[in-house]
């Protein structure tokens, strides 16, 4: 499918344009979330100098010059600035506001100094601002959705690409080479994990990883030399065989699909010592690649029959080059469908897990964790309605767009 056609079909109806618009807004909110909800002003004149307090978090990461300035011991809200430009929401996600704790409703009277300090969407039991949490949750949701699906895309493209492009007859090798390569790979991985890495444990720095790679390559060569080379004198071993890569990949996909992955996730994630958002993204990516692989495989099975692939082959291009430079780029259209549903699924899964308070660190605010707080206090409707709406609209928009491309 052509990209222009995909673009046109996404923009064809009003609903789809709304969906696209909503997603764009979401991305902008996610990127600029520090400027939208923060307990520091964006720009402030303090003690006669201009400061950018909002850059503090970023500045601490890069430890460059410090135009954001420090305000030890006091919050910017109470600081006597000459003037200050505040974000629309004057609270950070997770920031406690003791004056307005214990579930303050959006419409209730709040203990605030100016109307601009309102908790527009209320607070939770500890006085954390719901809107600030929503804005931070936006970043988490999109990050999880994109990174997890990025990982899934990488695995899916590779597996689906190999399976579809080579099918069961495309990847050929002499039997002795294939076997010594396969055995060498398996043995090499086991050797690295069980022998080499424990041995190199005391080595300083990163040097053990390139060393491990060299050891692995050496082992592959060794097997080729000790097993492959002698075997090549027998005609049976010298015969050319084709690797049934399509069948293998299909088996792996079936294996993944018949695993109760979610149940496994719920069982295993709580015991991981220090869960980070990266763990969750990695796990989601690792279990959600099969859909993409299936799409890519089906598309490549069609593409590999097309004349231009033959033309490329006759021109003398290598197999892998044809696969990655010529075949795969044309298979990306249908992947958009799988990707769009996949991102929706990943966002849902992250909300699901943080609703169960599994996976993400405790202090990480996300849509799911906000929603979960409403369970403790059913009367706090704002904690149930707004995060839920955010999840719903995001998933709906992604589904609408996936549907449009299909």
């Amino acid at each position: 499918m052509r990209w222009s056609r995909i673009r046109n079909s996404i923009r064809s109806t009003r609903g789809r344009r709304w969906a696209l618009g909503y997603l764009k807004v979401l991305v902008i909110v996610a990127i600029f979330s520090s400027f939208l909800a923060n307990d520091r002003p964006i720009l402030a004149s303090y003690a006669g100098e201009i400061r950018f307090p909002v850059f503090r978090e970023i500045g601490e990461i890069f430890s460059g010059p410090r135009p954001y300035g420090d305000l030890p011991g006091r919050s910017w809200r109470k600081a006597e600035t000459d003037w200050a430009v505040w974000p629309p929401v004057r609270y950070s996600a997770g920031e406690l506001d003791f004056a307005n704790n214990n579930y303050v409703s959006p419409f209730e009277e709040q203990k605030i100094e100016t109307a601009l300090e309102r908790h527009w969407l209320g607070t939770d039991q500890l006085g954390r601002d719901t809107l600030a949490g929503l804005i931070r949750g936006c970043r988490i949701a999109l990050l999880v959705g994109m990174v997890a699906m990025g990982i899934a895309l990488l695995i899916g493209l590779l597996m689906g690409g190999l399976a579809g492009f080579f099918s069961n007859d495309g990847l050929r090798a002499h039997r002795h080479r294939a076997w010594s390569f396969a055995i060498g790979t398996v043995f090499g991985i086991i050797y690295l994990i069980n022998n080499f890495l424990p041995y190199a444990n005391g080595w300083s720095g990163w040097i053990k990883y390139p060393a491990a790679f060299i050891v692995f390559a050496g082992l592959l060569g060794l097997f080729q030399l000790l097993f492959g080379f002698p075997a090549s004198f027998w005609p049976w071993w010298r015969k050319e065989i084709s690797l049934p890569i399509d069948a293998i990949v299909l088996r792996i996909i079936e294996l993944f699909n018949s695993f109760p992955t979610l149940i496994l996730l719920i069982a295993v994630l709580p015991v991981i010592d220090s869960p980070t958002i990266l763990t969750v993204m990695l796990v989601i990516g690792l279990i959600r690649w099969t859909g993409i692989a299936r799409f890519v495989r089906a598309e490549l099975l069609r593409i590999r029959q097309l004349p231009y692939i033959d033309a490329a082959r006759i021109s003398g291009f290598g197999q892998l080059r044809i696969l990655f430079r010529h075949a795969l780029p044309n298979a990306l259209g249908p992947v958009v469908v799988a990707l769009s549903f996949g991102v929706a699924g990943a966002i849902l899964l992250e909300a699901y897990l943080s609703f169960l308070s599994i996976g993400l660190p405790e202090d990480q605010v996300s849509w799911g964790s906000l929603l979960q707080q409403s369970r403790a206090q059913p009367a706090a409707w704002w904690l149930a309605v707004f995060p839920g709406l955010a999840i719903f609209f995001t998933v709906l928009s992604l589904n609408v767009i996936g549907e449009a491309v299909r």
Binding site: N195, P198, L255, S258, P260, I266, V271, L371, W381, G388
Partner: protein, 454 residues
């Protein structure tokens, strides 16, 4: 029959792999599995009588079979001994392994470590305390510091020097494959599970079966009703909206089901349980907790209404996502069939709309919806985890989450395996359904790969 056996031959290894994976994870987790099994009185002796504690610990570990090798075989290095599994004290094993990785000389390490242990368990003066600390030290620099600072007897000092001098880390590079036979932890656990003994919950010491069966009943009931309702509604809706596609009803249902499909079930459940089961908003229509108590003598009508009252919202929240999904799939499949010539022929020969839909289109369009059963079952089971938690139902999902949070591994492993089995059964049922819907499937010449794009 042969076809089913073939499918089973593919799917049974999946279950085996799952069992290895779950068991491996339970072993990989960084926690001491014996600690819960030790009696309180023995646990109290940890400070004043380490030797007695050690004995109690060993006994508990032996009772649980933890002194056996973990698996049938192990890949390791020549530096490791065959008898590593006999060291049952968890922290001590970690320390010894870490030292072994550093020095690679097991006999010298044992001389040193046993010497320290001997002192730690027999002397209660400051030397004994220093030895107890040394037992948990794995950093050579810290050990040397400690040895220099405290007056441990000279044999220990010498054995440490011998270990440091005669280090042979090169042995670590020598790969060794060890075969332990069937006398291992995994084999023991697997045979127990296969003979129906799922073990004892570490949380409340009840047999796992006793905890799982009642929970399974509720989960099966909930999901059974949900699947039944979803198919019951989605098949006719999908068929008729496909037939009258583009009509007002079709557009209404399409939009409605797209919305429902995107509506996260756990949000809907949270909202329903907040708004309809609590007096906070004046709609206290349904009970909040559990499945309802029915007195023994009550008639079937009371029983039914009580259950219905309690299960209405959970079943609703479980049904609607699959319903939306199934309807859309059914509609897609039926739409593809309706364009074909045989439908036109059937209409032209005078068959009524309903006859055509149910007699011709339905059977041919039922293919994808049968496949979906295979993927629907695990999704439903996973989905019912949250529904059970939100509505406080005593089902398997809640049991699993509680068990996982408390590292109650026997329960976690049993539920995961049970889920895997159910998933596999779902896949088998779907295959069987294929076979019934299209007898060509499974025949050697047929293109199963085309019909079943996985």
């Amino acid at each position: 029959m042969l076809f089913m056996l073939k499918r089973l031959a593919v799917l049974l290894p999946v279950l085996w792999l799952l069992s290895v994976l779950v068991f491996g994870l339970s072993k990989w987790v960084d926690e001491d599995p014996v600690l819960r099994d030790i009696t309180i009185s023995a646990a109290r002796s940890v400070d004043n009588d380490p030797a007695a504690y050690d004995r109690a610990y060993r006994q508990a570990a032996q009772r649980a079979g933890l002194d056996k090798p973990v698996f049938y075989l192990s890949f390791g290095s020549a530096a490791e001994p065959d008898t590593l599994s006999r060291i049952v004290r968890y922290e001590q094993r970690q320390v010894q392994l870490s030292l072994l990785r550093r020095f690679g000389n097991w006999p010298a390490l044992q001389t040193y470590y046993n010497g320290v242990r001997e002192i730690a368990y027999t002397r209660s003066d400051s030397v004994g305390i220093a030895a107890l600390e040394l037992l948990l030290r794995s950093d050579p620099a810290r050990i040397e510091q400690k040895l220099a600072a405290s007056p441990l007897p000279s044999p220990v000092q010498e054995s440490w020097r011998a270990l440091a001098d005669r280090a042979s880390p090169g042995l670590l590079l020598l790969p060794t494959l060890r075969w332990y036979g069937t006398d291992n932890q995994y084999h023991r656990w697997l045979t127990d599970v296969l003979s129906g003994e799922l073990g004892i919950s570490t949380l409340d010491r009840r047999p796992v079966e006793e905890k799982i069966w009642p929970a399974l009943r509720w989960t099966a009931l909930l999901n059974g009703i949900a699947i039944f309702l979803a198919y019951l509604i989605s098949i006719p809706t999908g068929l008729y909206t496909a037939w009258y596609q583009g009509g007002r009803a079709d557009r209404f249902f399409s939009l409605g089901f797209l919305l429902l499909f995107s509506l996260p079930a756990f949000w809907a459940a949270t909202m329903l349980s907040s708004f309809l089961t609590t007096p906070a908003y004046g709609f206290d229509l349904f009970p909040t907790i559990g499945v309802g108590e029915v007195a023994d003598g009550a008639g079937w009508w009371t029983y039914l209404t009580t259950r219905l009252h309690h299960l209405f919202l959970p079943v609703l929240c479980l049904t609607y996502p699959s319903l939306a999904f199934l309807t859309r799939q059914m509609r897609e499949a039926a739409r593809a069939e309706i364009g074909k010539d045989y439908v036109k022929t059937a209409r032209m020969k005078g068959l009524g709309v309903h006859r055509v839909i149910w007699g011709h289109v339905f059977r041919n369009a039922s293919f994808p919806i049968i496949t979906l059963l295979a993927s629907l079952l695990p999704a439903l089971l996973a989905g019912s985890v949250l529904i059970e938690i939100i509505f406080n139902l005593p089902g398997m999902g809640r049991l699993l989450v509680d068990a996982a949070r408390n590292s109650d591994w026997p329960v976690v492993m049993a539920i995961t395996l049970l889920n895997g089995t159910l998933t596999v059964v779902g896949i088998l049922l779907a295959d069987l359904g294929y076979r019934l819907a299209d007898p060509r499937v499974g025949k050697p010449t047929s293109a199963v790969a085309n019909a079943n794009p996985l």
